[in-house]
Symmetry: C2
Amino acid sequence: MSTAAYRLAAPVVNAVVLRVTDRLETLLWRRSRPPAEDCWSLPGGFVRQGESLEGAMRRHLAAKVGVTDVGHLEQLDSRSADTHPELWLLDVSYLALIPRGAEPDLPPDTEWHPVEALPTVAFGHAGAIGRAHERLRGKLSYSNAAFALAPPRFTLRELADVYEAVLGYAVSPTNLGRVLGRDGLLAPTGGHRRAGSAGGRPAAEFAFTRRELVVSRPLAAFKPPEGAA
Amino acid sequence: MSTAAYRLAAPVVNAVVLRVTDRLETLLWRRSRPPAEDCWSLPGGFVRQGESLEGAMRRHLAAKVGVTDVGHLEQLDSRSADTHPELWLLDVSYLALIPRGAEPDLPPDTEWHPVEALPTVAFGHAGAIGRAHERLRGKLSYSNAAFALAPPRFTLRELADVYEAVLGYAVSPTNLGRVLGRDGLLAPTGGHRRAGSAGGRPAAEFAFTRRELVVSRPLAAFKPPEGAA
DNA sequence: AGGGTTTTCGCCTCCGGGGCATAAACTAGA
DNA sequence: TCTAGTTTATGCCCCGGAGGCGAAAACCCT
């Protein structure tokens, strides 16, 4: 078949940028131009030819919303979109995790919004935020994904707070430390930190041993091989 | 910024089609035209405007390689590709699972190849096959993904053979039945089947209760909520 | 010094996966 | 018909990880 029979699309990337403060928040961008003027949307933009999709994503995160310290960046999915009046768009969405403590200086018209109380989001991007949250919930349970959300060093209580903000239910700091510690993902730094305003035993300070995503839990049920590599 | 500053790409879909016979096999297509003439590549093709990506994928699977009975279809990832001499391609890859017993009548220049002994594959598609295999291995361990690879009805021994072909190590039929049965994913049909040429107790016949992907295993460690819904 | 607060450690229990031995069901052959 | 061989099914035990709980540790404030 001839390639001329097919129209061409404009590749677009956009990211569900997540961070944890008291609650789980995502970064939204108020559109100042049509289409969808005055609506919120995910940060992103067009892809240049010769550029990798991930490269384009990082470029837009740095240029448009000042996000340079990305803890983890991962592709979610792609879809064909007819939301633009003139162009056929091919929309590739990403999940970006921002560590606590890295506060990008946001340009105007860019704000953090709690994922539990989102404003009206254009282009059907609300679904992408939901899928990103869902995937993150899964990854927290079988990998060290929290390294990309937590600050470089933290107490077990602080780390449990990160988990609670994402998972939505109470997490035991004791158990969390045991599980991640046994998998070799967490190590004490040796330092300690004062408990709080009302006293209490100082908490030991921990850090993740690796800063890339590591799948720790088996994922291989039904009799894994004996000498597991 | 103006959209005119950005060039346009041709969206392309292609699939890692997997099935299990004695071994895990993938469907490859021998290219008869440049680029990469006489090399093997994944089946796929261009996307039409207004068409969903998944729709385009199913259309190409049906038209080009005669695959209509797709047990499960899932997007893997997308990348920007400069492998075409004239066009900028945006390559979206899928994982397609074909149930045992559904034998599509393949057009010429299309053949099943064991994933352990692949021929030379063009466009860097070999990496996509590896990633597809990896993801399938994971999904078998925490979901009912095998429903898309197994025949409609089967014995536990046959199901274990499917798992072994994908996972690469021995799987106990007893344990497999216990685990999937407890999760409510597997149910006996009531029928039985003769064991083999040399006699033996007839095996009970089973079937998956659901034909969509269901994540059974918790994935929610660190104290799941009490009344799990 | 004492009460309040928070973290940490040790022990216990519970439950699911895996292994194993035995029983069950069938075929082929003598 | 009886026996040997083969394959599947069932019941039981073991083990290891996750979670719960209480006691001890470490610190603040009064």
